[in-house]
């Protein structure tokens, strides 16, 4: 790798002087050096009384302010039998009004201010986001904390949200994409993991206004808030306003349970899900097994390995082989992102016309095997490393708001302290041997669970000119689609 880089430099030095002519190959271009210091999180970090931590950046280039209040806790903390509570809580906070503002008045005020106020509660954390013109920031903050401290949770609005939630459940088996995601999680994590505690008609109907209020109190507490904000404001005035808004919080912080590690051992094989419809001309395929979380020492080696295999967009091996050379898919790739608080799956996904699904799946598998056996070339490693080093500012610090959310999330989710500070150096020192070892240890095709969704008979008919069958990948299981409202499967 080093030798290669030097050769490229020499070539560049022999080329024409910059600014004069057009070199005959882009490899001969010479670029001015570009240094990028990782923004210092300490320079934007503020500890407010009451325990809230803030990351603030002043930015007067546009007359807007963006802020996001993060808090730990999410759907993983829903009581059993109340699945769907996290979404309903987020929805009712936003639409259910406050003690002093009717829902209608609240919507009218926010719309008139052209403010975007969004509340979302995901798996292990939630957030309230506000985007507002700087001149209206005072009012925006006042509304935001009115909602967080004194929500009214109007019952009629809960009924509307429940109707919407039930209609969303009915759409569960409509698209092959939705089926693929849900069934993959079930197979990889097992039915007992909190990721698979899915809402049903019964659980939605069981949720009361009191459940929503209790869940809100459990999650929303300033002692656990982490706030990211950037825009046209004065930092100290903003911090003071925030401190005032969170003073004398009306309830105590309640403990949150931690996320249990996945304890499920899936049966490897091919799981077929038939979706009826003449128009379904393409099958969707994902192969997966559990991966790692962000604290794993191999995270950067895995990242680079995954980039070369299939996470590196057009330049990845899967894309070159399955799409560009064979024309078997529009979209093909792999994903091996570390989980924040629990391991995420490693996965390979593609979509291909029914008759070439099995052929394309075998090509993907062959690329995994090749990577494990042969590793990567010095050139592939060098290109991937340079990608991460040079793209680094764009990946995490593209805008000032992105910078503060990067650090706020790292604090909330308890990333290793030096995660961003050492991100590049950990990648820069990787060798081809590190990458090969990561491939061998972390890519385990013998553990793959293959989820295949589509017109199963057409997929199994295949392409006589390129014989291949799903059974070449492992034992095949047919799984009927569950009832969308109860999630019960026909026997």
């Amino acid at each position: 790798m080093r030798a290669l880089a030097r050769a490229a430099l020499l070539l560049a030095a022999c080329g024409p002087a910059a600014g004069q002519e057009i070199p005959d190959h882009p490899d001969r271009l010479v670029f001015k050096p570009l240094r990028f210091e990782v923004p210092d999180p300490a320079s934007m970090r503020v500890e407010l009384p009451g325990g809230t931590v803030g990351y603030f950046i002043e930015d007067f280039s546009l007359p807007v302010v963006d802020l996001r209040v993060y808090f730990p806790g999410g759907s993983f903390h829903e009581p059993r039998g109340k699945e769907g509570l996290a979404d309903l809580t987020a929805g009712l906070l936003r639409t259910g009004g406050t003690e002093s503002r009717s829902p209608e008045a609240l919507d009218e005020e926010l719309d008139f201010l052209a403010a975007d106020l969004e509340i979302e509660i995901a798996d292990v954390y939630g957030s309230v986001s506000l985007s507002i013109l700087a001149k209206d920031l005072d009012r925006g903050l006042e509304i935001l904390f009115d909602i967080l401290r004194r929500p009214a949770f109007r019952a009629d609005k809960l009924q509307v949200l429940k109707a919407q939630a039930l209609d969303a459940l009915r759409a569960r088996n409509d698209s092959t994409a939705a089926i693929e995601t849900r069934e993959l999680n079930l197979l990889v994590y097992g039915p007992e993991h909190p990721i698979n505690r899915l809402e049903t008609k019964a659980s939605i109907e069981a949720i009361t206004r009191e459940d929503v209020a209790a869940f809100h109190r459990q999650l929303a507490h300033p002692s656990r808030f982490v706030v990211a904000a950037a825009g046209a404001f004065r930092k100290d005035a903003f911090a003071a306003a925030f401190a005032r808004a969170t003073r004398d919080w009306p309830w105590e912080a309640a403990p949150l349970s931690s996320v249990p590690p996945p304890a499920h051992a899936p049966t490897p094989g091919v799981y077929r899900f038939h979706k009826e419809g003449r128009h379904i001309t393409q099958g969707r395929v994902t192969a997966a097994h559990l991966g790692v979380d962000v604290h794993h020492p191999d995270v950067q080696a895995i990242r680079v390995m995954s980039y070369i295999l299939g996470a590196g967009g057009f330049s990845s091996r899967l894309m070159q082989r399955v799409r560009t050379q064979e024309g078997l898919a529009y979209d093909v790739g792999s994903d091996f992102r570390p989980g924040f608080t629990y391991p995420l799956p490693f996965r390979i996904s593609f979509q291909s016309k029914n008759e070439s699904v099995a052929v394309a799946a075998k090509l993907c598998l062959a690329e995994v095997t090749r990577l494990r056996e042969e590793g990567v070339s010095e050139k592939e490693l060098a290109d991937a490393v340079r990608f991460y080093l040079d793209a680094f500012p764009g990946l995490f610090f593209a805008t000032r708001f992105r910078t503060v959310t990067t650090y706020a999330q790292a604090e909330l989710l308890k990333f290793p302290k030096d995660y961003y500070a050492t991100y590049r150096e950990k990648i820069a020192r990787l060798t081809t041997e590190d990458v090969r070892r990561a491939a061998r240890e972390h890519l385990r095709p013998e553990r793959f669970v293959w989820v295949v969704v589509g017109n199963v008979p057409a997929i199994e008919r295949g392409d006589p000119s390129r014989p291949a069958a799903l059974s070449d990948l492992g034992p095949v299981f047919d799984v009927p689609l569950p009832d969308p409202l109860t999630l019960e499967r026909p026997k």
Binding site: P26, A232, R386, A398
Partner: protein, 510 residues
């Protein structure tokens, strides 16, 4: 070299002084200045540069005023396919042996032209209901074996995704391109010191494209069509609705093209398309980021100045959509929640009514808008509503629609929706509604300017439908439109005889 150069400032200053409140935390300086440096090269290619310093990156993009509107039946989707071809390389990029590659390409073309002749004979036979001719089918299979052998040979000297590999190995992210009805845009974000890399690769591929890997890529585009349109719950319904809406205008076919057309493109078609439309006066390069405008200008002159104008210009788009004088309806079923939608024809995005129509649609939108409360909460007919005006270069689509609540009667929902539209046509809108919509439209414009790509999208959109300077006129119209203007637009555009109605029922529902 004679160059036209101008510097101008996009200003939203007036529009942001919305209310007189004076709170202490946020800034009171509401003037927004976005300096655009414009250069027109001798060959007609326009260059826009905006300097911003959020991060040491630069968003580089090239916008071609070439889209599906320039196609014809038989070649639908060719603009999009051409976009794919532009990632296949040149005589420098994508191959280790350009001469050998050209030889193989010529032989592939020869073989595939013969296959095409057989395909046309097949079509002719099927027109008569005749079975396929076994002799021809055998001949076809033989030819495809020859083709496969040639492709294998070409693989030995090809560098797949070479363009992407170079960009990404230099820290490029988000490399891609999109094709729409009026335009195709190519883009990548790079480290701020590597604008020259973009200029090199981007001018190279439009200077001397090689239509390499043509036939595997045809398969890729067919997969894209299966993924986006065929195998989704409502893709085919939306395609049919769009085709119903446009009676005469070339906007009516899908950007990705009809499957049977995709199967018949030839490299000669792509070459002709290139020579007709990819002339530099039809392009704008837009750069946003932490860069030196003078340096970028100089690079563009050196690199993009190489592109030659094709003589003769291209045929203008002259077809006008005839005035619609009766409602059209599409009834459909799908594995999807029910929907009711109504669309009317609107004017071009540069039309003086375009801002008023955006405001009108904003008054229908949102939880405090005209549609949500009556349809979702009071009458419980819908779970969600939407309204928008999508303005293209040669016309626009005005849309109101709802997602039906399970069990709701589509006819009742349609009546309720249209009553709300008729109410605005008859009674107009209030001053408060107008101001609220104005605030919303203006703030959303500002929000678009938060990212490098957002700025480029905004400028690129206006360069597509007119020039970036039309942005200023649009903002002025947003400020000056009155409630009377909105009422007049509602009366004029949202006519009962101009309705195009979609009623989509969930499959299996009564």
């Amino acid at each position: 070299m004679k160059t036209l150069r101008r510097r101008a400032v996009l200003s939203l200053a007036a529009s942001l002084l919305l209310s007189a409140a004076a709170p202490p935390i946020g800034a009171q300086e509401t003037e927004l200045r976005l300096p655009v440096e414009e250069t027109v090269l001798d060959n007609g290619l326009r260059v826009l540069v905006v300097r911003r310093a959020e991060s040491p990156r630069v968003f580089c993009s090239l916008w071609w005023r070439v889209g599906s509107v320039h196609e014809r039946p038989g070649l639908t989707g060719l603009s999009h396919f051409f976009e794919h071809m532009m990632f296949m390389g040149t005589d420098v990029i994508g191959t280790t042996d350009a001469r050998r590659d050209a030889e193989i390409n010529a032989r592939i073309e020869d073989v595939m032209n013969r296959v095409r002749q057989i395909d046309l004979a097949r079509l002719e036979a099927s027109r008569r209901g005749d079975p396929p001719d076994p002799a021809l089918e055998n001949r076809r299979a033989e030819l495809l074996k020859d083709y496969d052998a040639l492709v294998e040979e070409q693989k030995k000297i090809s560098i797949p995704e070479h363009l992407a590999k170079i960009f990404q190995a230099q820290g490029g992210t988000g490399l891609n391109a999109t094709t729409s009805y009026d335009r195709t845009n190519y883009f990548v974000e790079l480290p701020a010191n590597k604008v020259e890399l973009f200029c090199w690769l981007e001018s190279d591929r439009f200077l001397k494209p090689v239509f390499r890997s043509f036939y595997p890529e045809r398969e890729v585009v067919k997969e894209e069509r299966r993924m986006r349109t065929e195998s989704t719950p409502t893709g085919l319904v939306q395609e049919a609705y769009w085709a119903l809406f446009w009676q005469a205008h070339p906007y009516g076919w899908p950007v990705i093209g009809w499957m049977s057309d995709i199967e018949q493109y030839t490299a000669a078609d792509a070459r002709r398309y290139y020579e007709t439309h990819y002339s530099p006066e039809n392009a704008t390069a837009i750069f946003v980021g932490d860069l030196d405008p003078a340096e970028v200008r100089e690079l563009c002159r050196r690199y993009f100045g190489r592109l030659r104008r094709f003589p003769g210009g291209r045929p203008p788009v002259v077809t006008q959509e005839p005035e619609q004088n009766g409602e059209r309806r599409l009834h459909a079923e799908a594995d999807a929640p029910g929907e009711v939608a109504v669309r009317w024809h609107g004017p071009s995005g540069v039309h003086r009514d375009s801002a008023a129509l955006d405001l009108l649609m904003a008054i229908f939108a949102g939880r405090s808008g005209r549609l949500y409360r009556p349809l979702v909460e009071e009458k419980a007919l819908a779970v969600d509503v939407e309204s928008w005006y999508w303005s293209l270069r040669y016309g626009g689509v005005i849309h109101v629609g709802l997602t039906l609540r399970e069990g709701a009667d589509p006819a009742a929902a349609e009546r309720a929706l249209l009553d709300l539209v008729e109410d605005v046509r008859k009674n107009g809108v209030t001053e408060r509604e107008l101001q609220k919509a104005r605030n919303r439209q203006t703030a959303d414009l500002v929000r678009q300017l938060k990212t490098y790509s957002g700025i480029a999208q905004q400028l690129g959109y206006f360069e597509t439908i007119g020039t970036w300077r039309d942005f200023d006129a649009y903002v002025r119209n947003l400020q000056s439109a009155t409630a009377a203007d909105l009422k007049r637009c509602a009366e004029q555009y949202l006519r009962p005889a101009g309705r195009n109605v979609l009623v989509l029922r969930r499959k299996g529902a009564r």
